[in-house]
């Protein structure tokens, strides 16, 4: 063997020694396995999978304290409650009846007390029947559903122009976070058919009119045990929507919605831009009145506004093509993992700067019992009932941080800002998961802005809530 060969062989031998040392280091990693996890679990035999539960049942107690303030435009009675104590039993479950048929139920039983609410009275106990429907799958990928269904659409978080069945459906939410508002709402009685192919889907829904329209509900005139179809099925409604995968996971969705002789069109787009960013846009457009005229028309038809009540704001009463848009992006940071959503929301039917000036001008010096104040606040309550922004342009920023500072603590916050006057609503929520069964949490809500502004003129200055949740 030559000297060169020897050197090479020695080199290889030395690298083997180095590998042996590395092996020793590798085995040190075993010390990182917790003693409690040293023993492997007994392997499960291959078997038919048990039906995994989709059931969710929880009992929640929530106590809210609010702070009120006076504003430029007096608020009609009754004033918002300053405190509320609420116990709710929330149930969601699904049962299979054979291979192709299932039943779904989702509802919430509330027991509540608050200032301004008689005790005991039927108002203390209310039941929200969110969903109760039967599903049938006659062929693989074809579904027929009938009953009260929460049919939701939209990829945005702060405002959903294509969520056509959201109107009048939100009942007594625990939080005003738009994500939570989607949870606390009534479904619509409908017949729905859906076909899902590989890379495409088509959904058609018909919601019949089965009840007459009704005035906007407040938290002091809710029915105890009533499905309140007057909120969800006061008119015939049709929805057709479909999506196609165009490749790389890009699946735009197109919608057509019809009610009251009007058809609105819509689209949903969402696409990954990078490892951390998803961009999305949600649009709907079609003929409609302005928010002011829509509200007055509804109030005159369903009460409490007299049928011939003159409008206190300049009457436009002209139906035109109006757009609603929510466009934004989500971004998740690397460490710590916080997800931010930033959205621009646009409601062409909403208040312009001139509309706001007219609103404050008309309400200046009115008393809380004045019909003028009543009508002005009715318009804003109508917007809330319809789940649409009052102002034309808002910016919505939301953040969600799981395991914030300490494990099991989730922080969620949002700020919704009116771009016309800079006023806004901010909320911070903290949930601490004590165990798999118990969660404690709280939230702080603040409406900020000048007295002459969208959020600054609201009678609620802020509130705090504390809650305890037990899951079953």
């Amino acid at each position: 063997m030559t000297a060169r060969g020897l050197i090479l062989t020695l080199g290889i031998a030395l690298s083997r020694v180095a590998l042996a040392d590395q092996k020793g280091d590798e085995n040190k990693d075993l010390d990182l396995i917790p003693p409690a996890a040293q023993a492997p679990s007994a392997p499960s035999a291959d078997a038919s999978i048990a039906a995994a539960p989709t059931r969710k049942i929880y009992l929640e107690n929530a106590t809210t304290q609010s702070w009120l303030r006076g504003g430029i435009v007096a608020v009609p009675p009754p004033p918002p409650s300053e405190w509320q104590e609420r116990l709710l039993l929330d149930v969601r479950d699904q049962w299979r009846l054979g291979r192709d048929v299932s039943l779904t139920y989702s509802g919430r039983l509330n027991a509540r007390a608050q200032d301004g609410l008689d005790f005991p009275s039927h108002e203390n106990v209310t039941n929200d029947l969110r969903e109760a429907y039967a599903s049938w799958e006659p062929h693989e990928g074809t579904f027929v559903d009938i009953g009260r269904i929460n049919l939701k659409s939209g990829v945005a978080l702060g405002f959903n122009p294509t969520d056509f069945f959201k109107t009048r459906a939100v009942v007594e939410p625990v939080s005003v976070d738009p994500v939570v508002l989607r949870e606390d709402r009534l479904g619509t009685l409908m017949l729905r058919a859906q076909r899902i192919w590989a890379g495409a889907s088509l959904t058609a829904a018909y919601a019949p009119a089965v009840a007459s329209g009704s005035p906007i509900y407040t938290d002091s005139n809710l029915h105890s045990f009533d499905p309140m179809f007057d909120r969800t099925n006061a008119q015939d409604r049709f929805l057709l929507k479909g999506s196609v995968d165009l490749g790389a996971g890009f699946t735009p969705e197109w919608l057509a919605y019809h009610d009251n002789g009007r058809t609105r069109w819509g689209a949903n787009l969402a696409q990954s831009i990078s490892q951390s960013v998803v961009a999305y846009a949600e649009w709907s457009g079609g003929p409609r009145l302005s928010l002011i005229d829509d509200a007055l028309r509804f109030g005159r038809a369903n009460g409490p506004l007299p049928p011939a009540a003159p409008g206190v704001l300049p009457d436009q009463a002209r139906q035109g093509f109006r757009n609603e848009l929510a466009a934004g992006a989500s971004y998740t940071t690397d460490q710590p993992k916080i997800t931010f959503n930033l959205e621009l929301n646009y409601n062409q039917a909403g208040f312009s700067g001139a509309d706001w000036n007219n609103w404050f001008q008309a309400g200046r010096g009115t008393t809380s019992r004045s019909p003028i104040a009543g009508q002005l606040w009715y318009i804003r309550n109508y917007a809330a009932d319809q789940q649409e922004p009052v102002s034309r342009s808002t910016v919505f920023l939301r953040a969600d941080w799981v395991d914030a500072f300490v494990p099991k603590l989730e922080l969620t916050g949002f700020v919704d800002t009116d771009l016309q006057d800079g006023s806004g609503r901010a909320q911070l929520t903290a949930d601490y998961y004590l165990s798999d069964r118990w969660t404690v949490g709280g939230l702080v809500l603040v409406d900020f802005g000048a007295r002459h502004s969208d959020f600054g003129s609201l009678p609620l200055a802020g509130s705090v809530l504390f809650k305890v949740v037990r899951y079953f």
């Binding site: 590798e26 085995n27 409690a36 539960p53 969710k56 949870e183 590989a198 099991k408």
Partner: protein, 257 residues
Amino acid sequence: MKLATRLVPLVLWLLLSGAALAQTAQEIVTSTDRVRNPAQPFRSVLTLTEYVAGKERDRDMLAVFSKEDPATRQFRNLVQYVEPARDAGKRVLLDGHSLWFYDPDSKVSVRISAQQRLIGQAAIGDILTVNLATDYTASLVGTESIDDAARKPRQCWHLDMKAANDLATYSHVEYWVEQGSFYPIKGKFYSDSGRLLKILYFRNFADRLGAIRPTEAVIIDAVDTSLATTATFGESAYQDIPEAWFQRDYLPRLQTR
């Protein structure tokens, strides 16, 4: 000369082990991918037990539906939370770039980014089914004997793997595969900057889906070594999973029957 004589057996051993390395690194990874998961679609229940400072902190249970995409040779997964009770019914679609999260409370599907996918435990189901040979380019470092999770010595190929596409969760992986059996023994997962993020041990080799496969993984957080998770596959069964399941609109329809 004496030294050279002594080194002959060593040289011979090196040559013999070199012959064993005739199988390419990529073929080794492909073979061990098949040991970990079969090519046919299947479903499993994945139990995740999280330990903090040696104590059990949390236990999640996920129903996972897995199917290989014939075009990309990569697994697509549908994951449904079974436990804890507060998350029951939440679903995640993990299909390459198409990542969606469905919450049965809000009844809305939200598109999520690859980064956001790593929040929560559903990503573990995805990581455990990933075909490493598809997403990584492997090279052989050498052969060595390391202890497995039960501290039993295993003669392994030591592989170095670099991300081959942007779907790879980690930029660099070290991987130990037992020679002969192609059992995966250990993996070390690194960030773009070369920081060690996770150490993974496969263990509990048993009959699963018609072959001897690892039924459990121990995942150690290398950044915070007080954190560890065990992931145990149970109730595995082959199941025909239609292509139509792997899209956003199917998420609300997913039945774990």
